[in-house]
Symmetry: C2
Subunit: 330 residues, 2 copies
């Protein structure tokens, strides 16, 4: 006989309110008040001789939009959220930059929304600077910032709350294809009103604040020693992923090949509203994921839940993300 039964579990669920004080109970309050504070979101792992520090910028939560997925109904998306044990009425999107210390360079890949976002009331993003500091990293120590593509959650943090350089000593490296696209006046003039025009404008404001002082980098070449840029276009024209390799270590840094895994890893055919060219993004996604599965590479995902490191496996018509166990030592 086991002592457990369903009635007791349900009873347990309702009992909190009616409980009497226990014998031996002394203070009416806990010795410590509720803390209400989360652990600073950073996590460290080795890739060969390199040290990767994941630093979350936080996560944004919002009511499920009608067309979060362009080619699926809101009901289908809600059902998929529920299937993943999540609230079907809202979406939470995490933002997860990483720092690579190669021993000779301290390199940040993507910036998060940055300090400006942290100033908003009830802010849940803009945590990168605080989390870097918690991890022992001063932004002034960053030698290079590498940008994967020109969306706000990846570039806005190039500037601090005073609209000055957040990484004052860093060289800023950008995908050559992405740079060409967003600085091309013809592309801007042809871009639709609304979100796309807004992106052109905000990108230009950011890079003007840097005096357009950037180093474009090419696909299929090393951006820094050990970090090879892989063109994964569709999400944006110059969207870039990376293979980080050192010694026997290797990890695929996917950037936004998928947005949140609980929708788009399971359903690689779904197109996020954020994907500029949905068909190309899907082709890239399937090709990239098939390769990652075949190579059994660990994957670091910008929109995966912190710390964003896992493995992919085929599951039904899509894939499954298996988060890597947290390592309490490094």
């Amino acid at each position: 006989m086991t002592g457990i039964n369903r009635r007791m579990m349900l009873a347990g669920a309702a009992a909190g309110a009616t409980a009497a004080m226990l014998p031996g109970a002394k203070p009416a309050r806990a010795a410590l008040p509720l803390q209400g504070k989360q652990n600073p979101g950073w996590y460290r792992y080795k890739v060969g001789d390199y040290e990767v520090t994941v630093v979350t910028d936080g996560a944004g939560t919002f009511p499920l939009p009608d067309k979060f997925v362009v080619n699926a109904s809101k009901d289908q998306v809600a059902a998929e959220l529920a299937k993943h044990h999540l609230d079907p009425a809202k979406i939470t999107v995490p933002f997860t930059p990483i720092v690579i210390n190669t021993g000779s360079k301290l390199v940040l890949i993507d910036t998060g929304y940055g300090e400006e976002a942290a100033k908003k009331p009830n802010a849940t993003t803009g945590q990168v600077t605080a989390n870097l500091k918690a991890a022992g990293i001063d932004p002034a120590n960053i030698d290079i910032v590498i940008i994967s593509h020109f969306h706000g959650d990846h570039v806005n943090g190039l500037l601090n709350a005073e609209k000055k350089l957040a990484y004052p000593n860093a060289e800023v490296m950008v995908p050559a294809v992405e740079w060409k696209y967003w600085t091309d006046d013809g592309e801007m003039s042809r871009a639709p009103e609304g979100r796309m025009q807004g992106l052109f404008k905000s990108n230009r404001a950011i890079f003007d604040a840097l005096n357009r002082k950037v180093t474009p980098y090419e696909w299929n070449k090393e951006v820094i020693p050990g970090l090879t840029a892989i063109g994964t276009p569709g999400h944006t024209p110059g969207h870039t992923s990376y293979v980080l390799a050192s010694g026997n270590g290797k990890v695929f840094i996917q950037s936004d090949v998928t947005n949140v895994p609980f929708l788009f890893v399971s359903n690689p055919g779904w197109h996020a509203g954020y994907d500029q060219d949905g068909d190309l993004a899907e082709a890239t996604r399937r090709k990239t994921y098939d390769m990652i599965v075949a190579e059994k590479l660990p994957v670091q995902g910008f929109h995966y839940p912190f710390p964003g490191l896992g493995h992919l496996e085929k599951a039904g018509d899509g894939y499954r993300l298996v988060p890597m166990p947290w390592n309490p030592v490094i």
Copy 2:
């Protein structure tokens, strides 16, 4: 055309060693040396009005023993590890106590190995005290320590490195069934030599250091308001799980209903060497997990990877653990 191809990814993998210095590269060393330090392992979430703080004691890694699973071959276990993207030659077992702040009591469930373990060379366990402090919790603030069962990873930390009370102001509450079993001289005399005799002796040493001053608690009753003890025997005779409930929040604290999920959640019929009564432990496991799946309860697992919170779903002949996304705010 996407820019990615397999040859490039493999090339990227090998390129680290041969890379030349980049134009624009200045210092030969990063502005910051490798840090080599992991984030203190604590994580906080709300259950209704209650605040739960998960504090990892670390994780132990050891070569895969021949009989880690009593009723499966070493090859089968190694294959299962590989299937979960883990090294098939070794096992990593995490240890994950939690603190519950009810607003009127600060309660620790299980202690981890404690400070004694942290003193060993290259220690990877015994981190609870350090992680409590990182989370803003002084061990002297703990009002109650609740023990789920009498194995070293759950009780050794009752004592600090000086073999004194690690939680000097805490009432220690233990399952009545477990207390009766381990303090019964007849049970001890009948226990097999080796591990079981060792457990009897070390448990008695620990509780003698406490002058046997404990409060036994009963199954199917509240241990503290909102926390109901659920008998889940088999792993030990008095092994106990809990339902924590406050407001609309509810979580099932499974203790050791399974050891590591990547073996025993997938294969509920596998018996860990640590299970004192393998058949009863299996019956408990299946009954408990079927109920958790039916009730869609979140589960907190002592041997789940940090932070140890997830949902269970049926998968094939067993179950699958889906870790809950890390919440960067609380």
